[in-house]
Amino acid sequence: MSNAAVIIELDGTGIKEANWGMVTMARMGGTPSEGTGDSKAGLIACIMTPVDDSMRSELESYGISTIVEVVLPQGLETNPDVSARALLSAVKAHQVSSVYGLSTALGKDLLPRMAALAGSPLVMDCFEADARTGMARTSQYSGKTLASIKMTGERIFFGVKPNSREPEKKPVSAEILRFDASDTAIQGLRVLDVQTGDQGKAVSLAEAEVIIAGGRGMKNAKNFDILVQCAEKLKAAVGASRVAVDSGWVPYAMQVGQTGEKVSPKVYIACGISGSIQHFAGMKMSGMVIALNTDENAAIMANCDYYAVADALEVIPAVTRILENG
């Protein structure tokens, strides 16, 4: 039993972009520097929807050799406990010893359920994950430390932080198998309602490649529109400091930091944010940090990749204009 499987997440239009970095990680192991290359065994993708030709060729282009369509009981597709039980049966049936999923809104409700039902170890939010050694790396103590965690057991689970690895293609051809889990029963948990709120259609913070975040320096709720407009051009998500949330300018779901979302975009643009320890706890895993602040002595200016002593309310609209008109 040495198969690896990835759980593919979907969005309204098909397979989420964030999956491909995870698939690459599952194929190659955790660290690009290891250089051991692709593992010989094929990679299984579990997907909770019928797979059409375009999905199939996308999955094939990233090295998926077996696609398992997991058929859920009709009407219970949003029940995370039912999905977890169905997926667990599917991975057991395919002799899967390591399971990769995304540490996203869905993954955080799904992967711990699966690992708990299986009695198996799980590391959430890992940015390195290697099935061959059972090693995962994640941050602990509010981003103050990095932990290397060794998992042992018959089956291990990785919750992979989006954007942890650059996707790399590796074309193969795949067979499609069906796993009928339509008889999975409800066990004490029923979904009464799902409210998407206004965040539903915007780019999610956890998965965004680019985040533009605003703090006290944005001065009011209205000025966050400036960030939203720029974010639309960049396909970015909009984040906020706790001050912006506590002032009532934006909802709590947008808060980045120790008591908010922990994010890992490729680029984090901080507008009018001073860079407190608690804010850093949520965004220090970002690839590149760009800071716009009127105070050259703000903490963030000494702990970023690019900074400008400037008014964010003037710079960001200029960025939007350039993206619009070139």
Binding site: A105, A115, G119, T145, M151, Q199, K266, I290, I316
Partner: protein
């Protein structure tokens, strides 16, 4: 109904963390009740106010000092506490097993609360493991709860603000999220009263953890040191904006 609240003794988030022996943190710092567990205790006490027959029991696995954390929960209104005393560090598989064993040895849980995560290990899974052991439903990041006839209706908020409303059979395990309530911080008389409340200390018997090979062990812990070297962008807003676009295009390659 017995309501158990699992509380964790964690380092103060404002404290500086020093790594020793490459594998653990220097424990000479301020520890307190995990912030998300404060929401859990507060909610359990609120439920007791509506259901006076209920009993709220704080359960903690931790070192001798963790009695302070149990006492904090008592000062916030829990009726009594249980400290499973140990100097060892357990992974969440073992922790859930020990907490489950302790709770079922003590009584008959109608509800078990935890925080949605602990701010030290940030594992986000102990509640699900307790639920699996008790064979009962689980919801995490709970921001609203209403008790019905042998049922709980809860709002569970996913990251990004999407809210799932679940109905769970009792007993159930719930992970408290920040939006659930505003923790009621104890007054001085609360603290005095809590000193008289019973805390049972049990020592860990080896039988509690039955190792079947499934484990996760921190093999290395390193301070996260920032290695960014800030470069200045200068000029008028338009010039800075052009430079940002160039960086996004050429260096970060996030736009094309």
């Amino acid at each position: 109904m017995q309501i158990y609240v699992c509380v964790k003794h964690v380092p103060d988030s404002a404290a500086n963390i020093h790594v020793i022996d490459d594998i653990r943190i220097d424990p000479n710092l301020a520890f307190l009740l995990n912030p998300y567990d404060e929401h859990a205790v507060t909610e359990a006490v609120k439920i007791k106010e509506q259901h006076p027959e209920a009993e709220v029991i704080a359960v903690c696995l931790g070192p001798e000092d963790a009695e302070n954390t149990v006492r904090s929960a008592l000062a916030m209104g829990a009726d009594r506490g249980i400290l499973v005393q140990t100097d060892s560090i357990f992974d969440s598989i073992e922790t859930a097993r020990i907490l489950h064993q302790t709770i079922t040895d003590d009584g008959v849980p109608g509800m078990i609360w935890t925080g949605k995560e602990s701010i030290d290990a940030e594992g986000m899974q102990t509640m699900f493991r307790i639920g699996a052991l008790l064979d009962c439903p689980v919801a995490t990041n709970v921001v609203q709860v209403a008790l019905g006839d042998n049922k709980a209706v809860v709002d569970s908020e996913r990251v990004g603000g999407v809210v799932y409303t679940y109905e769970l059979d009792l007993p159930c395990v719930l992970g408290a999220g920040r939006g659930l309530n505003t923790p009621k911080y104890p007054t001085f008389p609360d603290v005095v009263k809590s000193k008289k409340k019973p805390v049972k200390t049990v020592s860990l018997d080896a039988g509690a953890s039955s190792p079947d090979g499934a484990s996760m062990k921190v093999v290395k812990l390193e301070p996260l040191i920032q290695t960014r070297t800030p470069k200045a962008m200068t000029g008028d807003p338009d010039t800075i904006a052009r430079e940002i676009v160039t960086i996004l295009l050429q260096e970060a390659k996030v736009i094309s």
